[in-house]
């Protein structure tokens, strides 16, 4: 309601994506482009002053010399009746006209060629821009087609990604499995080590205690007796060995 009248007078916007066909787009022929090219040559003019249509107009009635006779007669009439007065301006006009005609006849083609060259350069730049724009659009089209072709391979991409994810999950699961196993094994090893240690300590302690008691129980009397017995045994053995040899 606060928009100006010009904005309200515009046709309603077309929703992009869901094209309502109540407002047609681009139905009329565009009248502005392309601009028709300029004609090559202008209207024909004879002697630089009189259009050719005048001569063609008089040709059926008077032939080829008609307009010239008309011109001569008109000129003589104007001069003799002094409707055209000959004064200083006439001399000036004659000199100026001579110089102008001489200059045009001498330098005309060169100037025309120069102007044509300028024009051609302008046209060439415009055409180059147009060609460049067309080329960029062509490359853009090809790139787009390539991208579309690439997009067709998305199923492979998704399969590869799914494989990756599955592998990650598997790896993680196996790592955790390994960790559980190693932890449990460590705990059990600890228990086993504790038991073996305890048994070993008991064994050592018992052995030591037995040895200590045995050593304590060997009195000096028994020691002497055992030594004498050993000596007797050795003598008997040596006798037996001497006899064998």
């Amino acid at each position: 309601p606060s928009a100006p009248a010009a904005l309200r007078a515009l046709p309603p916007p077309v929703a992009v994506g869901v094209l309502h066909t109540t407002r047609p787009l681009h139905t009329t022929q565009q009248s502005l482009a392309p601009v028709p090219p300029l004609p090559e040559k202008g209207g024909e003019v004879r002697h630089g002053l009189i259009p050719e249509e005048f001569f063609q107009f008089l040709y059926p009635k008077t032939g080829v010399t008609g307009p010239y006779m008309l011109g001569t007669g008109l000129l003589l009439y104007l001069l003799s009746k002094e409707i055209y007065v000959v004064n200083h301006e006439t001399a000036a006009a004659a000199c100026i006209l001579t110089v102008i005609v001489y200059a045009i006849k001498k330098f005309g083609p060169e100037v025309a060629a120069f102007a044509d060259k300028l024009n051609e350069e302008k046209v060439a730049t415009a055409v180059a821009m147009k060609d460049e724009a067309i080329q960029t659009l062509q490359t853009a089209i090809e790139e787009e087609k390539k991208e579309q072709w690439r997009a067709e391979g998305r199923s492979y991409l998704f399969d590869a990604k799914r494989n990756n994810v599955a592998m990650l999950l598997e790896t993680n699961y196996r790592e955790r499995l390994l960790m559980v196993y190693s932890e449990v094994k460590k705990r059990l090893d600890y228990q086993v080590a504790m038991q073996t240690l305890k048994r070993q300590k008991e064994q050592d302690h018992m052995i030591q205690w037995v040895e200590k008691n045995v050593v304590q129980s060997i009195t000096p009397q028994q020691q002497k007796e055992s030594i004498a017995k050993c000596i007797v045994d050795l003598k008997a053995l040596s006798k037996g060995a001497h006899a064998a040899v």
């Binding site: 202008g42 209207g43 002053l49 025309a112």
Partner: protein
């Protein structure tokens, strides 16, 4: 085509009277006629790829004639003959 839509060059001498009667002589009509004449002259002699001296020289010649006509009363006094 019909008479009132034809340009002046395509009107025959006998039909000239009726053609003038169908002309629009209001200021806008005259202005439009001048505009049309100027634009057709430009399109024919000036806005071409290879125009010659003809386009401007005809304008200059017309200007010379017009200025001679405007100054005729003054130039009349520079005549050589007293009686014509």
């Amino acid at each position: 085509g019909p008479l009132w839509e034809r340009p002046l060059m395509e009107v025959r001498l006998g039909e000239l009277h009726t053609w003038i009667s169908t002309c629009n002589f209001s200021p806008q009509g005259l202005l439009a006629a001048v505009q049309r004449a100027w634009s057709s002259y430009c399109a024919k002699y000036i806005h071409v790829k290879q125009g010659g001296p003809a386009g401007i020289s005809m304008l200059l010649a017309g200007y010379c004639l017009l200025s001679y006509g405007w100054n005729y009363q003054h130039l009349k006094r520079h005549r050589w003959r007293k009686y014509h």
